[in-house]
Amino acid sequence: MLFLSQCINGLQLGSIYALVALGYSMVYGIIRLLNFAHGDVIMIGAYIAVLTIGAGVHPALAVVITILGCVMVSVLVEKVAYRPLRSAPRISLLITAIGVSLLLQNLVQLFFSADTRAYPSTAIIPAKAFDLGGLSLSLSTLVTIVVSVGSMVGLHLLIQKTRMGKAMRAVSEDTGAAQLMGIDINRVISITFAIGSALAGVGSVLYCCRYSIANPTMGSLLGLKAFVAAVLGGIGSIPGAVVGGFAIGFAEVLVTALGFSAWTDAVVFAILILVLLIKPSGLLGKGVSEKV
């Protein structure tokens, strides 16, 4: 029974990682940028929820505002910071992404102090638990898993079945050729950022409902772990991000359950290094041959 409850625990954590990893993977797939600021968008989402619910906004509306806020921040960052560097070397883009991540963290710290704030998790998802024959399943776990799986299915349909999804796949396959076919590259990239950060917004609400806290640096480690999940699954691959997210979630819960909770971060990064050593393209990624 303990094993089963740990499995559900891993499923909950894994689905949050998967949601965040999807954002990384989509952005990397389309402009080959490792968006360091993605984790911090989640942090911004957490603060938006704390502030709006604190101001008396209805929790359901607050969740919508959180998701919209994440989308706006992300699209703005893409327009202001990443777009001027479209043709710049990769290293410039990467340094800019680090800069944006630092900026978001420190702006929040400047305005709201570095203190950890309580997140109104019970206002969003009531603290209820179902008893399934000795196995306790909290409502928040159930909601997390259902919402995550729902978002992933929605994303899959969007990418595979719609025109915009087709355009996104085309840009990720070959930006130049896609442009020649009349696809508005900038619009597609903006929409990719918007979708990725909407998922991050959902992830933010679910993550904070699990841990009930918000602080300015909460996003960086969550973001890094989600990135590891994306690499593990194969960066740029949507199903890969989901598989990687669940794998990292389970690994973390397993390490904690075995009594090594101080080592979870080290284990996650060790997994990353092992993956890169053995199969750099990840579990579901396709190998890319170099063009001369």
Partner: protein, 340 residues
């Protein structure tokens, strides 16, 4: 143009070395005399030492970022390896002899270099972004290791009572020697190979450069000097805690390199000096420091991606050469006459 072109007179190589060595020795002597005379107070001399240490960190990161064109984000990890190695050696060996200090710094550099090889070989087989993430992961693993091995490293409270070996002379002699070594490496054929990889990896490989070897070499050299700088840091603070070596430390060093100019040693040193002295000089600045650093990173990348000095490097002998040839201030329209 019937006027004969005057030959460009050059300073002989041995004379160049003499000029530079003499100047640096004078600089060292003047610095220690200034500190010994008591005209600078304790706080100021602490800033001077910190500038030296951060300058070495920035110069060492510049080898991997500016010269090799990769982006390691775990520089604080190498620094931590060096710092703890030197600290443990110095704590074990009593005395303040030159041999002990050198042993500590060398061991610090060597162990960091070993980590550099171990991390570099897998990381450098992959392209750009993965190196950033793998080194970032490495930096975090080192920190978790330090926290979870209290028997060796003192754990979270830290390692205390480290002998304070980092005097002005030790710090700046090490910095100057390290910079000279890195400089000569970069001017040698090995350095040219590293630059060739930065410019175009495929072309370099086609020209017979062993790209994997030189990438790992540059990365290891970078790690070595980060380790040495870590050793100096341990001898300067006397206390080491894992909190000294977070991701933010790596980013601080990166900001110095980016601001100074990717590939410019002089730029790294100047930026390290400014960014270390500024927060200490302006207390109120500290609150906004990280916001400004972050904005600097973004703005520099968008408007001047090569950094403030670009790839320019200061050379005293080049200036003297220009002066004796009367070309210190070249007139317009005669730029074609300039020798490279």
């Amino acid at each position: 143009m019937d006027k004969a072109v005057r030959p460009y007179r050059q300073i002989p190589v041995y004379l160049r070395y003499l000029i530079n060595t003499a100047l640096l020795v004078i600089l060292l002597a003047a610095g220690s005399a200034l500190l010994a005379s008591g005209t600078v107070n304790r706080a100021q001399s602490a800033v001077i030492l910190q500038i030296g240490i951060y300058a070495l960190l920035a110069v060492s990161l510049n080898v991997a970022t500016g010269y090799l064109g990769q982006l390691p984000l775990g520089h604080a990890g190498f620094m931590a390896v060096g710092a703890y190695t030197a600290a443990l050696i110095w704590k074990a060996l009593p005395g303040k002899s030159l041999g002990v200090i050198l042993l500590g710094l060398l061991a610090a550099g060597l162990l960091a270099a070993v980590f550099g090889v171990v991390i570099g070989i897998p990381a450098l087989r992959l392209k750009g972004d993965y190196l950033a993430i793998i080194t970032l992961g490495f930096g975090e693993i080192i920190r978790v290791l330090i926290i979870n091995l209290p028997g060796v490293t003192g754990g979270t409270p830290g390692l205390m009572n480290i002998p304070k070996h980092s005097s002005f002379l030790v710090v700046y002699a090490t910095v100057i020697l390290s910079c000279a070594l890195i400089h000569t490496l970069m001017k040698s054929r090995h350095g040219r190979a590293i630059l060739a990889i930065r410019e175009n990896e495929i072309a370099a490989e086609a020209s017979g450069v062993n790209t994997t070897f030189y990438k790992v070499l540059a990365f290891t050299v970078s790690a070595f000097f980060a380790g040495v700088a870590g050793g100096l840091y341990a001898g300067y603070t006397g206390i080491l805690t894992p909190g000294n070596f977070t991701f933010m430390t790596s980013v601080n060093i990166l900001v110095m390199v980016v601001l100074g100019g990717l590939g410019s040693m002089a730029g790294s040193i100047i930026a390290a000096g400014i960014l270390t002295a500024l927060p200490l000089a302006l207390q109120s600045f500290n609150k906004y420091r990280m916001v400004i650093y972050a904005l600097l990173l973004i703005v520099v990348m968008i408007f001047k991606p090569s950094g403030l000095l670009g790839r320019y490097d200061f050379s005293l002998t080049r200036i003297i050469e220009k002066a004796i040839n009367g070309r210190l201030f070249p007139r317009k329209g005669k730029a074609g006459e300039e020798h490279a």
